[in-house]
């Protein structure tokens, strides 16, 4: 119950971070779901999604471009779109509602903002998944600001080592904030990592170090 859950951050820096997932359920409604999932991804892009991805086949870098992500969607895919604002999110949810795909849709993000969006559109919460944080030997974890970037990839592929390398590259002007954030996006195969938020977090970190 996890891969877009457990994103760490403040309410302020999470306010530009939303992911919409669409998936069929095996043996219930997966047959013929591929074209619907593809239409959803296209709708998301048309309405302002900043990234799309496919949990089975990989992100745009892994598949060779955004058009390949769209082209390769299969019946049992688990697809995602990432948003940096609630207006784009709301437009996409409205388009999904009107299209009536009949596939499950999960919105990840600040509960308060997602609820406002849903109420406005006449959508109801069916099932809710809450995170209760990290337990056990938490003293072995890296600092909060590193975790805020790392936890945007639920599979842990945006590693601490890569984050530290990108911070050093930004600080030493070997890359811009945006280039650094895009480099961090690449290992997140599902394509759920939010490079817009990552650039903001990198900016905060590097400004603090100055």
């Amino acid at each position: 119950m996890t891969h877009t859950l457990h994103r760490m951050g403040s309410v302020e820096n999470l306010s530009e971070d939303y992911v919409v997932l669409m998936m069929p359920s095996k043996d219930i409604n997966h047959v013929g779901s591929g074209p619907k999932l593809r239409r959803f991804l296209q709708m998301a892009l048309d309405n302002g999604a900043i990234k799309i991805g496919d949990g089975r086949l990989g992100n745009q870098y892994h598949q060779g471009g955004v058009s390949k992500v769209l082209e390769n969607v299969e019946d049992r895919a688990v697809v995602h779109a990432v948003f940096r604002d609630t207006e784009s999110l709301a437009r996409t949810l409205l388009a999904i509602k009107e299209a009536d795909f009949g596939l499950s849709v999960v919105v990840s993000g600040l509960f308060g903002e997602v609820e406002k969006c849903c109420k406005r559109l006449g959508l109801e919460k069916h099932t809710v998944n809450i995170s209760m944080g990290r337990w056990g030997r938490t003293e072995n974890l890296p600092p909060q600001e590193i975790l805020e970037i790392n936890t945007m990839c639920g599979h842990g592929m945006v590693t601490v080592g890569l984050i530290e390398e990108v911070i050093a590259d930004v600080r030493n002007k070997r890359c811009t904030l945006e280039e650094g954030a895009e480099r961090l996006f690449r290992p997140c195969l599902c394509g759920i990592f939010n490079p817009h938020r990552a650039a903001q977090l990198l900016e905060e970190m590097t400004a603090k170090e100055k």
């Binding site: 996890t2 971070d17 086949l57 688990v78 009949g102 919105v107 209760m132």
Partner: protein, 241 residues
């Protein structure tokens, strides 16, 4: 994963891509090395490092090492769930499956996440602790498939030292069992050598409120301000009796 020492030119490009810091390149060394015991077989280095000499290679994976790839490589499809990743459809399709009904809470304890990784002896410790509540581990979850006796949370012989990026224990409990579960989780959290992320899924009440929130707050525990909401657009919508 292995690195061929005769091909490696010690450029260090692969080092930052390891999520469990298993790739070492000592100062002045001629080649990088993978600590084979620490490597979780996630394939991130092979996929992402763009090794200029193709020195990184995937050796043949044999049991029980196959467990590492199953739970660590995001693109490995688990035959139990039919989907990629370590989990199942869980709450994502609850609107059509009805997996978590009113009065129940779906629990996921993800050991190793974030960053630290987990060995199965710790996964087993937590599994055995929560099994004392009489829970049924989700049969379609790949971690459950590695259990010898799910009724007591015992794992198969030979896998206890296997290391993975993370492994998810997934089960449901009645809402009234939550306070007891939290006590068990607090106790076992102090007995393991790794971390875990904890989450709970539940049906929303007809008025939109979330029935587990007061229970969690009464236990003095923290809830993140962000999470996941299934907005009930799947069809056919499951009917609850």
């Amino acid at each position: 994963m292995r690195i061929y020492p005769d091909l490696c030119i010690a450029c260090g490009q692969c080092v930052p891509y390891c999520p469990v810091k298993a790739i070492r390149l000592e100062a002045g060394a001629d080649f990088a090395e993978i600590d084979f015991d620490e490597c979780a077989e996630c394939s991130n280095c092979l996929r992402m490092a763009e090794c200029p000499t193709d020195a990184i290679c995937q050796q043949e994976l044999v049991w029980p090492r196959t467990v590492r790839s199953l739970l660590s490589d995001p693109l490995t499809v688990a035959k139990e769930s039919g989907i990629t990743g370590r989990g199942t459809e869980e709450m994502k399709t609850n609107d059509v499956t009805g997996r978590f009904k009113r009065g129940f809470a779906g629990i996921a304890i993800e050991l190793g996440r974030p960053v630290v990784g987990a060995r199965f002896y710790d996964v087993e410790k937590v599994a055995q602790a929560v099994a004392s509540l009489g829970v049924e581990f989700e049969p379609r979850n790949p971690t459950t498939s590695l259990m010898e006796d799910p009724s007591i949370g015992k794992f198969k012989e030979g896998i206890l030292n296997e290391k993975v990026v993370s492994a998810i224990l997934e089960f449901a409990v009645k809402l009234e069992q939550l306070p007891q579960l939290f006590e068990i989780i607090k106790r076992v959290a102090a007995e393991i050598d790794t971390v875990f992320s904890l989450d709970i899924a539940t049906r929303a009440n007809p008025d939109g409120s979330v029935p587990i929130e007061p229970v969690v707050k009464a236990a003095g525990l923290w809830i993140s301000p962000n999470g996941k909401t299934n907005i009930g657009l799947g069809r056919p919508l499951v009917k609850e009796h």
